[in-house]
Amino acid sequence: MNLLDPQGPVAAANSTILVDSVFIMLAIVVPTIIAILGFAFWFRASNPKARFQPDFVYSGRVEMVVWAIPALTVILLGGVAWIGSHQLDPAAPVPGTGSPVRIQAVSLDWKWLFIYPDQRIATINTLTVPAGAELNFQLTSSSVMNVFFIPQLGSMIYTMNGMVTRLNLRADNEGKLKGLSAHFSGDGFPDMMFDVNVISPLAFPDWVAATAKTDAVLNEDSYKKLMQQGIEKNRLTFRLDDPRLFDLIATQHIPPGPGPELLSDAGRPHSGAHDAR
């Protein structure tokens, strides 16, 4: 999950900016640290060679320089930030080969639901995508906030109930990656890690066809079962009954998830996560 080992153009561009910014700053930070240690050592009270200058308390030239150095650095980095935020806006298109794949991601308590509306299938905790194609994500949450993040593919984005956020990514190399939720969402939060399978564009239709043969159907009823708090260890797959399911969730036609079941009304509610193991 190394950020410096990007597997797609967004992650590559983000990590380039990350590394470049560090080096721009190191150029002034390292000399400053050396100067701090050097001055402290040389001007130690026990050094007779150091010249004591108690009246050196103002110098226009030094002031000029000390305001200028951080200001110039910030102007340079500010440029990087401005251009970077525009080019790497999560919603900006990421052109790829073949037709884009639309994926609707829903964070549930505590699992990820990935809906492929055009393929009429859905999966839990496993995201399978073709290499090289543009991936158009629409994201929402069934209950509390989460953040959708695949470190080696790039930018993360919040998922919020009643709202849709957008993110475009692309995976360049076939292989297995990991994704996670990057915003604490309750007791089952650490089990929201999901698998990302990047497969060849030729194998993708086969995977879709195989997945569509599954018996399980995702509709409002089965979605409401998934919405219950709990951890899902099995990599479930579904046929999608109604391609508008995501819109029903995002517009709150399906009400937000229920939260924990209360077993006693004393201060400590029952934890769903604990029992799921």
Binding site: A40, V66, W82, P190
Partner: protein, 666 residues
Amino acid sequence: MLGKLDWSAIPFDQPIPLVAGAIVLVGILAVLIWVVAKGHLPYLWHEWITSVDHKRIGVMYILLASVMLLRGGSDAIMMRIQQAVAYQSQGFLPPEHYNQIFSAHGTIMIFFVAMPFVIGLMNLIVPLQLGVRDVAFPTLNSVGFWLTATGALLVNLSLVVGEFARTGWLAFPPLSELSYSPGVGVDYYAWSLQISGVGTLVAGINLVTTVLKLRTKGMNYLRMPMFCWTTLASNLLIVAAFPILTATLAMLLLDRYLGFHFFTNEAGGNIMMFMNLIWAWGHPEVYILVLPAFGIFSEVVSTFSGKALFGYRSMVLATMAICVISFMVWLHHFFTMGAGPDVNAIFGIASMIIAVPTGVKIYNWLFTMYGGRIRFATPMLWAIGFMVTFIVGGLTGVLLAVPPADFMLHNSMFLVAHFHNVIIGGVLFGAFAGFEYWFPKAFGFRLDERWGKLAFWFTFLGFYVTFVPLYVAGMLGMTRRMQHYDVAEWRPWMFVAAAGMAVLSIGVICQIVQIVVSIRNREALRDRTGDPWDGRSLEWATSSPPPVFNFAFHPDVRGEDAYWDMKTRAQQQSLEHEAPEYHDIEMPRNSPTGFICAFFATIMGFALIWHIWWMVILGGIGAFATFVVFAWRDHDEYVIPAEEVAAIDRINLEERRSLVSMAGAV
């Protein structure tokens, strides 16, 4: 009768909080019994609990912060051990417990360690540096302290009665709403902060007024020591920002108690509004903490370099620039919420702009050292350790302000490492530097240097061993608040971080040993002159500890570094005062108002958390009645006769004359 409270609130099935709670309870009882048996209770009541002396209140703030540092530190140790062992397993902390621990750790460290520590130091020193006898509102000061203590007490009570929030230290909705957090944890969190927030606000009002209205003769703004400037900036921020916190938490509480929909998913609630509001307070908050630390370092670097602060006016400008800009950057805490490129870029650049005045400060300390005669006493070690560490924290902070980099690092362990880098490396190092530097002033004897230096080196190294691995883990995609994980590449770094935590703990132990050793050797370490470090500002012009009235005469300030100036002139004239004529001094009377008010506030807070409505009314009436009684007081001051002032001052003058004549002889 008792609302939601019943026996199931006590976690009999969880050994860790139960044992911890029992140990704390036994400790408190032992101390109480000792105090009563030895007959110290009247002393404590008259000299400390009801004291309105800013020095005593400052010391109590710092004591509170130190005790809570141990509590927050224990949480930290448990978290680091948990993440070291919870690879493909549950570790030793179940999620509902682990989640409380990291929420409590953050809440305690910010609100009940960092805040009381810096407010305590400001209380203790600022009136002395301004050359005045007290703060603007002495009794209000006491109220502020005791309300902060109430908040701390409630947070700790949640350990054994009920639970603490499991939502993180900022309790983001909708997770913190009733539907997803039905327990009392979030209520403990919110009411603790509401009550202590009132305390912080009055402390802020008090210190702003003190700096603006109570300065000695000739102490105009551009002659104030830098610590007074940073105190002014920090408390202006408190006055401006804390009401936002209070309002935000009030809205959350309305949601939870009365079915409002400010931040719920349903009925038009807006969770993004909470994010904006809480960070509109939260970002100024970090500058509220770090600005006083900057002030402490300015005093320390200047004193131990034997030079006035380089670029004083530039420093003032930088301080006030930070004060203003810190209000304009809050959105950088959620670049990843999809606000769009223009908004993200503007807030990113605004955040970077803060690095300019901060960088200027670093350079000005650097040039204060240039041409100095640097003595490496413990406070100076903390200052140099800070400068090196804080630059690294600044670098990673500016990095996180670049939106595309933040898209990869938001909420990661890299972020955790960053804010610990600036909060420990900045605020905590500053608090420790101030503690070592001003301890002789508060208690009349120095701290043991050998243990102090050991404490510094262990803490300094321990910091890097703990937090550099977290930077690496963040670069490996690890997010924060993971109770367990299955990623093998994160594991070695969690081991190293746990080892670093052990080194940090040794640093804390050294600090405790230092205090014990110093108290034992206090006669040898006695500071008779009131000026143990060859200081430059007015707090060193009076005895250690200062008399209750601070100064027999209001000092006459004629320039920056007022006391240095006086010493120089005194050496030339070989006498500090010529047969001074003493006057009666009026000082504020002690008042139990703060303590009683906080007593009722504790009852009210507890009752609100558990929905015990009759007790809420009782506590509310009690707190209000305390104020009414105080408002009707007849005598709020007492007079110290001139003879007594003279007797106290002459002892101090004798010591000082011998110092001056000795220095003159050299």
